[in-house]
Structure formats: C-alpha cells, structure tokens
Subunit: 211 residues, 2 copies
DNA sequence: GTCTATATTAGGATAGAC
DNA sequence: GTCTATCCTAATATAGAC
C-alpha cells in the first residue's frame, strides 16, 4: 500500500476515533509510522486530507444512493438499503460529528454535502413512492414530503444521537436500531396492513440483532 | 453588570456565533474589552466557562420542561411549548453544534446532558398522552415510544440540520418550521380529524411566519 | 480588579541532507 | 520518498505592578 493511501486510511481512522479537531498532523504521522516531514511531502496538512476523504465519501454515497427504484422493493430490500446508507455514514462519521465546523471551514464541501443530503431525501421519497405504488402505504403529497424530510434527518443524525445517548460506540447494533426506527415511521400510513408490517420489521430487528 | 457576568455573556455570544473551538480566551477578552490577564483572574480559561454556561442552560431547560401536563393542552399550547424548548436550545446552540466533542471533554456534562434529553423525551411522551386523553390521537404504546423518540431527535438536531442545509441562521423562522414539522408528525394518528388538524397548524405556521 | 509583560506549549509548516 | 532539525504562530497561562 502506498504511503499516500496509508495516510488517508489512518487519518480517517483517527478522525473517526477521536474527532478531527483532536487529531494533529503529528498524530497522523505517528499512526502511519512516518515522520511529520514526510506527511507534508504527501499532503500539505489536514486541510488537504479532509477534502480528499470527503471525495471518497461523496463517491461511495453517490453509488449507494443510486438504488434501483423502479422495481418493486420488498421490505427486506428497504431494510438493506437503509442499512447500507447508515454504514456509509458510519465509515465517515467524523464528518457528521463536526458538521457545522467542517462545513464552515470548507464552503465547497458544504455545497456538496447539501447536494448529498438532497439526494438522500430524493431517495427516501422514491422509496416511499415505491411503497405507495405497491399499495402498502397511503399518504398525501405533503405528508410524503414531510415524512421524507424526517427520515432524512434521522438518517443524518441517528448515529450522532446514539453516541451522545450511550457512551459506547457499537456500530452494527446502533445502525440496526436506526433502520428499525425509520421503517417504523411508515407504519401509521399502512391502514390494516400495519400490524403485519410492524411484526415483519420487528422480526428483522430481532433476527439481525442476535447476529 | 459585573465583569464576571459580562465574560459569561460574551463567551456565550461568541461561542454561538463562531463555534466554541474557534473562540480563544483572547477573543473573549477583546469582546468584553478587558485584558486576557483579567479574564484569567475571573476564570481559569474556557474549561471553566463552558461548564458554567452549561449550568445556566440546564437550569433554564429544567424550568421549561416542567410543563403543566395534567391540564388539557390545546394545539396552541403545544405549539408554544415546543417553540419555547427550541428557543432554549437556540440560545445555547454552540453546545448542540459540538455535542460529541464537548461531551467527550466534559464527562460530567455528558451525564447531565443525557438526563436533559431523557427529560425532553418524557415531556414529549406526556404531551402525546395528553393528546390521547383528549381523544385527538390513537396510538399503541410502542408507537407512542417510537414517535416520542423521533420527536426528541428532531428537537435535538433540527436547528443543526437547518443550519447545515441553509447557510443563513435566521433563528425564529427556523424554529417556526421545526415546530410545524414536529406537530405534523401527529397527523397520521388522528384518524378523521387529521385534515382539520393539519389545516390548524398550517394556519399557525403561516400566521407566525409573516410576523 | 485590572493591567502589561512574558513564559510555555502545541500544532502547523519548511529546509536541506540522505 | 523519507528523515532530522528547525522555525513560526496562535493559544494558554502566570507573575508582578498599579
């Protein structure tokens, strides 16, 4: 693995672990086991590393969000879809934990981040419409927009919230509950299918929780 | 006004404006128009100012959250109640924008912050039960818990989210939309009253928005 | 209580040898 | 590409006079 890539990899590791603000260039160099001077040969400091990491995140998120929304999605498909989005956020969680600061410091990233959130929102709208087409939920357009906005917010902050509320940082379990919470939000729009649906996702919840 | 209080007041101002991490003790001294040395006479640095500000927040939030939940709350009461909670968060928004970092640095505050969120959640549960007693909404216990958790999350992160999504920082308007979004979440549990309810809160929304 | 002056340190950054 | 040595700066913190 090239030094350049090792720097990126370890920066991400430390940023996620300790928060970007609490990681110095020397910390990174130590973790990579090179000299600070060498680090500066590859990157002119954190101000260059961060946008580079963001670009990876952006690309992966773009791929993830291009879900195949024309086909009918089963509940399990939806479960997996949300799970994968959460995983992506988890992998770059340092970014989400410091959003205001980071977006303030990098206006270019702010623009692009907003674009990602907008995409996320559109994906949730599409997912909702898919459920609608299958006759699983009934909701008006304003309700749809409002619900999508809410879900987008939960997708954005759930991992933060969980970290704040419980000191421990067990990724999979937290993601798992996040997916469950989100899918539960569709229940009230399901009419008589509601009970079946809740039972189904509760099953997913318990199932994967044990794993 | 005593110097000590002026330091606290201006620290809060700068923290909210620029983020705690971007405000130095010298910045604060400048804003208060005293020397850095003098600042250190009153406080041993930001590490002492922050918990002091948190204590104010904690106290005010405690008062706000002690809502009179036994009486039947009108929709307008609920509107005002949520609005006031948001205002409190807005006044100490620097804290919410840096939650993970700050709670990591001050474990004692982390404990107390979790307690506040738990109170917030209980308040929302109480508010929901109040609507239930009035026959305005129908929901099962798990639904109630899930809805309350969601609303607690929105209460916690809405202002952050809005700042991220729109660069501008217009407090009242953002709070206003937050309240609207939250109340909208009760709609699907209202049965036939739903349309009336949505119309009513839309009215509040447009009304206060013009003001 | 308040000031000025100064010490200390950590982090960011570069020069030059290998 | 990599290292060592070194510099610069911003931020924290203290001492001592007024």
């Amino acid at each position: 693995m090239k030094t350049r890539d090792r720097i990126l990899k370890n920066s991400l590791l430390l940023f996620n672990q300790d928060g970007e603000a609490n990681v110095s260039t020397v910390d990174i160099a130590n973790e990579v086991d090179i000299s600070p001077g060498n680090l500066y040969y590859h990157f002119r400091g954190k101000e260059v590393i961060i946008p580079e990491l963001f670009a990876s995140f952006e690309e992966e998120m773009r791929i993830v969000l291009e879900g195949p929304f024309e086909k009918p999605f089963t509940v399990e498909d939806n479960w997996v879809y949300l799970y994968v989005i959460f995983e992506e956020i988890f992998d770059f969680r340092f970014f989400y934990r410091n959003l205001n600061d980071l977006l303030g410091r990098f206006p270019d990233l702010a623009r692009r981040f907003r674009e990602i959130v907008a995409r996320k929102n559109r994906a949730i709208v599409a997912l909702t419409e898919n459920l609608q087409r299958q006759g699983m939920v009934t909701l008006s357009d304003p309700q749809k927009e409002s619900l999508a906005l809410h879900i987008t917010m939960v997708l954005t902050y759930w991992l933060n919230f969980a970290t704040v509320m419980e000191a421990d940082d067990d990724g999979p379990a937290v993601i798992h509950r996040g997916v469950y919470q989100i899918l539960l939000q569709f229940a009230p729009y399901m009419g008589e299918r509601e009970d079946d649906f809740v039972e189904l996702i509760s099953l997913f919840y318990q199932q994967t929780d044990a794993a």
